[in-house]
Amino acid sequence: MTDIKKETLLEMYKRMNEARSFEEKVSYFFARGMVHGTTHLSVGEEASGVASCMALNSDDLITSTHRGHSQVIGKGIDLNKMMAELLGKYTGYCKGKGGSMHIADVEAGNLGANGVVGGGHGIAIGAALTQQMKNTGKIVLCFFGDGASNEGSFHEALNLASVWKLPVIFYCENNLYGMSVPIGKSMNIKDIAVRADSYGIPGYIVDGNDAVAVYNTVKEASEYVRSGKGPVLIESKTYRWLGHSKSDAQIYRSKEEVEEWKNKCPIKRFRKYMLEKKLATEEELDTIEKNARQSIEEAVEFANNSPNPPIETVTEDVYA
């Protein structure tokens, strides 16, 4: 099954490391009150976010979420513009108007993170409809969380997509919690993937901390979807190491549980896999890690040196 090209594997490793470094930096900024607002970090979920996107064609589309940094880095984003956006700078993807929860790059197929849980479902099916009507051969990957799968928008979107056979992968990152509520208290099922049956579409479950498994699953699913057979639902089981957002005392879960999942670190695991399979050398991987950290430092510098948006831009961009 694993005939993933070496360069793809290395790129994946790079992006996972970039995501980790990016968020560690952001976390540091927040802890020091250097950034405005709030953010939702995906540390621990890098395989799920990155490997899924890398299994797409580069011109495929995604809708991302409030916990979207790994996702969009997986899609291949300009880290400078991303960091600048986080810092509210004019050089950011959204000219400082969007911030962490709205990072978007429509031209590159990133249809935006979303502050609304479940807000991406409708956009994803619409984008998939465009691909179908224009016969572009592209597909859409719609990210959302376990919590989001309880929103009505989930149901309406999956049903409509199924009936119209839209080319969209519904990709649920099940990290076992909404904000504080464990899935056992927000739904009465073990696997969210079973919900596929309600729409007559295939459901997949994948270990979201296994980059290779994620890649292969999305690859397989994308072939199905791209061939015109309609949507699929993938449940990627993973875990967030950090709090829900910047202000979270995490009293709803035990330190042990968190530790257990830290032991399942998707980056370490992927590294080990590549070394064992002799797909890369320690040296190669070390260099990638170093470069990833370096890229983030550069992004910070870029962002810090960037101007704030001119105040008069506040009334621009409301209407086209």
Binding site: I123, T130, M133, A320
Partner: protein, 331 residues
């Protein structure tokens, strides 16, 4: 040819606008509940399936959130969807997609997106459909930056404005008027006839008092205005047609001229859009020209009742409009 007119119903004018634009631009398509074979709950799209096929005239499941969401997603990726919500009351289910997504995407993304979609929905009471099928909720949408809001009152305006809405690069809420669907009017045949969004129209000139009205109430206002000529009162009737953007200039000029203004719509009075129009006048230079307080004549603050007599009683009648005119004229 360019000025040729054809008589048709408001409903057919709506359809004609869609049909012409779909012929002109393959990115335009229609989706909604029962818009295909059934032709829509009010028959607006009858025959369109036959011309354009299921690819472009799409029946949806009963899923208003998905309809509006899909429209936003299709629009931001290059299509120009027309999404029909069967009754305006059911936009309640589509609000997140419309308000938090479609309306804000461009701004949130720093101007790097456009969302050319039209959300069509019929509003208003008068059909005996009671509280959940009769609302006039346009004020909600007017309060959402990023949306444009249109309420046409004539067949001609329906055609010209819907075509403009379809060609516009922003999400437009296009509120049709159920009780006007069967009303006929002269409509330009010209396929490039467009009414610019944001331009109101003086539907009748006058000099003593301005009535500003739109939608179903406009014909009532016009009728009263005509009748009052014989009583020596010259009533100007102004239809903003587009609520956002609003033709403030036209409104202010008219009020400056007449010095008296009555605002008429059928939505519930409290929190309705007449308050906005009144404030625009009160804040403007026209304030100094006012010879009488600004008067709002709107729907009662009640859900729409079923019984026909009660239903009639909740919206301004011709008689009430007449009395309002006499009142501001101090007669």
């Amino acid at each position: 040819m360019a000025n040729e007119m054809k008589e048709m119903t408001y409903k057919d004018a709506v359809k004609l606008a869609m049909v012409e634009e779909m012929r002109r631009d393959e990115n335009v398509f229609l989706m909604g509940e029962d818009v295909g074979l059934y032709g829509g709950a009010f028959g607006v799209s009858v025959g369109m399936l036959e011309e354009f096929g299921e690819e472009r005239v799409k029946d949806t499941p009963i899923s208003e959130a998905a309809i509006a969401g899909a429209a936003a997603g299709a629009a931001v990726t290059g299509m120009r969807p027309i999404a029909e919500i069967m009754f305006m009351d059911f936009t309640t289910i589509a609000m997140d997609a419309l308000v938090n997504q479609a309306a804000k995407m461009r701004y949130m993304f720093g101007g790097k997106a456009k969302v050319p979609m039209v959300l069509r929905c019929p509003g208003g009471s008068g059909t005996g459909a009671a509280a959940q099928h009769s609302q006039s909720l346009e004020a909600w949408f007017c309060h959402v930056p990023g949306l444009k809001v249109i309420v046409p009152a004539t067949a001609k305006d329906a055609k010209g404005l819907l075509k403009a809405a379809i060609r516009d690069n922003n999400p437009v809420v296009f509120v049709e008027q159920k009780t006007l669907y069967k009303v006929k009017g002269e409509v330009p045949v010209d396929e490039d006839f467009i009414i610019p969004i944001g331009k109101g129209e003086i539907k009748k000139e006058g000099k003593d008092v301005t009535i500003i009205s739109y939608g179903r109430m406009l014909p009532r206002a016009l009728k009263v205005a005509e009748e009052m000529e014989s009583e020596g009162i010259s009533v100007e009737v102004l239809d903003p047609r587009t609520l956002v953007p609003l033709d403030k200039e036209l409104i202010i000029e008219s009020v400056k001229k007449t010095g008296r203004v009555i605002l008429v719509n059928e939505a519930c009075k409290t929190g309705g859009y007449l308050g906005e129009i009144a404030s625009v006048i009160a804040e403007s230079e026209a304030f100094d020209y006012l010879d009488a307080p600004i008067m709002r004549l709107a729907g009662l603050d009640v859900p729409v009742p079923y019984n026909p007599e009660l239903e009639k009683a909740i919206v301004p009648s011709e008689e009430q409009i007449r009395e309002a005119v006499l009142k501001v004229m101090n007669r």
